[in-house]
Symmetry: C2
Subunit: 247 residues, 2 copies
């Protein structure tokens, strides 16, 4: 199996190294990942300037391609220029922090997998609920084990896998759950710079409480969550209301 | 009506000025927009550094808040800190370039509207198919006229409005159409920097041909397109396949 591996925490992040160690057991792994951490990159792409790309050796573990762009840029560039042939799958992660609920919109990890899906390449996003200290080796093992069970399903959707916090013990099991659409509890910390400019630092970011079965709830409850994500954002129900208007 | 106006081309872009001129006829407009052009910003947000925010006067037309962040940052900050009260609607645009098909993922314009929807504030994204020379005044007039017809529908979805090229004459009408999921025809132009680093500039970006009714096709055919976009990305159909596995 030819695997393209990327992430949004950057090519030297511990999560991608842990994912590499597990994935290399399943096939040949090409790493193309951002040179810097790109958390919160969402599905941004670089349009006004060229991407710089260089081969780097990461901690003696792998040789990969470091790209001065977003996770989605990395996948575009890998598929069009770097990979010698179309990979069988694109894996993104393992991210330091969960990507459930509306966080899938802010997530560079999920966007990289989505970008692969635009090219009809099967793709999976792997994330691990934030905890300190964290055990990326264990999280990557659980994530790739989960991925290994779904990899032959030929799904026409991105597979979004999240690993719960592990400090309290191993995951309680696997839950197949929809994405929560509940927003965040967040706020800004306001400061004034020496020159008088107002500065606002985003803080918080926990999901608002939910009580229906969904990814955020199952993950908090200690389950590995698996969600399939599509890329038709059309809301067909509301579209009918628009059709009632006399245009 | 209290309107929050933002965009992704930056607070001094001609598109937002044209939108302002039309929207101010409908109510009170607060402008909170990126200090720089943020095309391709997608749903990125700024997590590692504070946003700088300053009041600016734009060409004698309006006083607005200029923010060193993405369009989604601007909406978050406006809703939590800047707007004296919750706006009745968030308008994003008018963007220089269409936001149809999978471009809705790369679009900061659409992301800003989506961010408002996360806060349950009605939102609309306005875009205008790229042409040179362009007529933002006419495009904004058509866009706000279209918006004005849907603004009281209480839709629980983002309304994505695109104005076709206008060089050949006025739009042929309005079409309510789903988002196309067809990818782009794109490529990289490869160069080598003086220090030997490989540089890749993204080029192209036309949608691949489609022949089913959708936003890309209707816009190319000269219609104003209106699409409702939701934010549950769950692909329920493929999720059933996952449920067949013996977990």
């Amino acid at each position: 199996m030819d695997i393209l591996l990327t992430n949004d925490d950057g090519i030297t992040a511990p999560g991608i190294a842990a994912a590499y160690k597990e994935l290399v057991k399943l096939g040949s792994v090409t790493v193309v990942a951002p040179s810097d951490r790109m958390s919160g990159a969402g599905h941004s792409i670089t349009v006004f300037e060229p991407l710089k790309c260089e081969k780097v050796n990461v901690a003696g573990l792998f040789e990969g391609f470091s790209v001065t762009g977003s996770p989605a840029d990395c996948v575009k560039l890998a598929l069009m220029e770097i990979c010698p042939q179309r990979p069988d799958i694109v894996v993104s992660g393992i991210n330091h922090g969960a990507n459930v609920g509306i966080n899938v919109y802010y997530s560079g990890t999920v966007a990289a997998a989505m970008e692969a899906a635009f090219y009809h390449v099967p793709a999976v996003a792997l994330s691990y609920a934030f905890e300190e200290p964290c055990d990326f080796a264990a999280a990557a093992k659980y994530a790739v084990e989960t991925f290994d069970k779904v990899k032959n399903l030929s799904l026409s959707a991105v597979i979004n896998i999240n690993i719960p916090k592990l400090a309290a013990g191993k995951p309680k099991g696997v839950k197949i759950v929809p994405q929560s659409t509940m927003g965040f509890q967040e706020h800004y910390i306001k400061k004034t710079a020496p020159d008088g400019t107002l500065l606002y630092q985003l803080a918080g970011g926990d999901h608002r409480d939910v009580d229906v079965p969904c990814d955020t709830l199952a993950l908090t409850d200690g389950f590995i969550t698996v969600t399939t994500l599509g890329f038709d954002m059309t809301d067909y129900k509301n579209m009918e209301k628009l059709r009632q208007i006399n245009w």
